[in-house]
Symmetry: D2
Subunit: 148 residues, 4 copies
C-alpha cells in the first residue's frame, strides 16, 4: 500500500491573530484537514464511514510550536499513521513550509471509533472490516517506511 | 411580554486578526450568540426546540461595520425581533461598547423553520404552537417599544 | 486584463455545525479566501500591499443562503469586482458546487483602503498607483464581460 | 496572593460540529480564554502587557478528551499556573460542567515571553518586573494550595 502524499495549502487571512501570526488553535484544525485528506487518499472516505454508522472522535491532541507561520505562507502537513488496532488509532504530524526536517510545528492525535447512534466504542475488525484492513496495511507500510 | 435584555461579553484574543482588530466574520457569530441568548431569555430554549424536531437555519445575514473592536474591549449586542409569522423570522442587531446609539456594527439576519429530519419548511403555528405564541407576543412588544 | 478564475476547495469538517451543514459564518470566511485569491491572480498580492502600508478592511457583508453545503462537498466561489474607485471597492460572490447558475449562496462585500499606521482612509490613486491601475482595468474587464 | 476563580460560560452553537458535539479545536481556544481571564484576575492585563512590548506566544498545547460537551451545556475551566521562571510559563486546565473531579477534558499549555518588535525572548525579571513578581507569587500560592 502506498503512503499518502502530504497535504498542502496557503494560510488563510482569518487564521491569523493580532500577533500577526497564525493562531495556535488553527494547527489543530490543520491536523484534522491533513488527517482526513490522508485517509481519503488511502481509500477511506470519512463521509462514507459516517454513513456506515461509524464516527471517529478525537481522544487527545498534542502540538509543539517551533516557529510561526504568517499570512502569505503555504504550509505542508506530513501525516503519519503511528498506531492502529481497529479500536484506537494514532497519528503524528509535521507541519512545515519548505523543509520537512525543519518543521514549524509537530503534533500528535489519538482517536477511537464509536457507533454513530449509541456512541459506544466499536471495533472496526468486527463492524468495519474494509476499514480495518486498510488501517492494518497502512500501519505496516508506515512502519516499514520508518525503518528505512 | 418583556423585551429580553442585551447580551454582553469580552472580545476573545483568538477573534482578532493581523490587522489587530476583530475579524469581521466573528460579528456574524456574535449575532448568533446574541440571538440564541435573546430567545432563551424570551422562554425559547433552542436545544429543546431542536429536541422537538424543529431547526432554524439562517437564510440571510447582513452586516455593516462602522468602527473596529479590539482585544480588551467588551461588546454588547442589542437584538430586536423585527419580523415573525411562524414560517419566517427576522432580527436586527446593534453591536456597541458604550453607546447603543453609536454602534460599531449593525446587522440583520433572516431565518426559516425546518423539520429536523425531512428538512422541509414547517409552520410553528401548526407544529410548534408554544413557540409561535412567544414569537407573536414578542414581535408585538418590540413593535410597541419601537413606537415609543 | 484577464478575469481571474474561480476559487475552489473541499469543505472542512470543522466548518460544519450540529445541523450537519456548514455553519453560515464560514461562507463569510470563504468570501475572504476567494477575494484574496482573486486579487492575487490579478497581480495584487495582499501581504505586499500590507507591507506597502495599505490595509483593506471590510465595511460591509451580505450573504443569502439558498441550499446547504455539507462535509464531503467541494465548493467553488466565482468572485466579481463590481465597484472600484481607488477609495472604495465592492465584490459580489456566487458559491456553488456544480452549476454557477444555481448557487448555494450569493454574497457581497464592501471595502475601503486605510493607511496601516494612522488607520485613515487613503486613495490608491495617490498612494498606490500600481494597485489603482489594476483595479480600474479589472473593473472594466468585469463590466465588459457582464455585458456579453 | 489569592488564586483566581474559575472561568465559566455557555457553549456557543457555532462551536459544535456535525457529530453534534463541540469540535475538539475549541477546547484549545477555551484554554486561552480561561488563561487570559486568570491572568486578568491576578492583576495582569494582557492588552497592557502587549502595550508594554511583551507578547506571550504558545510553545505547546496538550489536550485529553474524556466526554463530549454539547450546545446547551455550560462549562467551567479551572486554570492552574504550574510553572513560571520569568522566561517560560506553564498552565494546566480542567474543563468540566458540574464536578471538577470529573472533567470532560484536561489540558496543558506552555508559553514564552518575546519582545513584540524583535520577537526575541525576554526575561520578565529584567524587562517586566511587575509581571515577574505576580508570576512568582502566584506560582507559590498554587504550589501551596496543591499541597493541601
Amino acid at each position: 500500500m502506498n503512503i499518502p502524499s502530504p497535504y498542502s495549502r496557503p494560510v488563510n487571512y482569518y487564521e491569523t491573530d493580532r500577533m500577526s501570526i497564525v493562531h495556535h488553535s488553527n494547527y489543530i484544525r490543520w491536523m484534522e484537514e491533513a488527517r482526513l485528506d490522508y485517509m481519503h487518499k488511502a481509500g477511506v472516505d470519512y463521509p462514507s464511514m459516517e454513513a456506515d454508522g461509524i464516527i471517529m472522535p478525537v481522544t487527545g491532541v498534542k502540538c509543539s510550536y517551533k516557529t510561526s507561520l504568517r499570512y502569505g505562507d503555504t504550509f505542508t502537513v506530513k501525516t503519519t499513521l503511528t498506531g492502529f488496532n481497529g479500536i484506537r488509532m494514532e497519528f503524528s504530524y509535521k507541519i512545515y513550509t519548505d523543509d520537512p526536517d525543519n518543521p514549524c510545528c509537530v503534533g500528535e492525535s489519538g482517536h477511537c471509533f464509536l457507533d454513530a447512534v449509541t456512541r459506544q466504542p466499536v471495533s472496526l475488525r468486527r463492524h468495519g472490516l474494509k476499514y480495518y484492513e486498510i488501517g492494518v496495511n497502512l500501519l505496516a507500510a508506515e512502519q516499514s517506511a520508518g525503518k528505512e
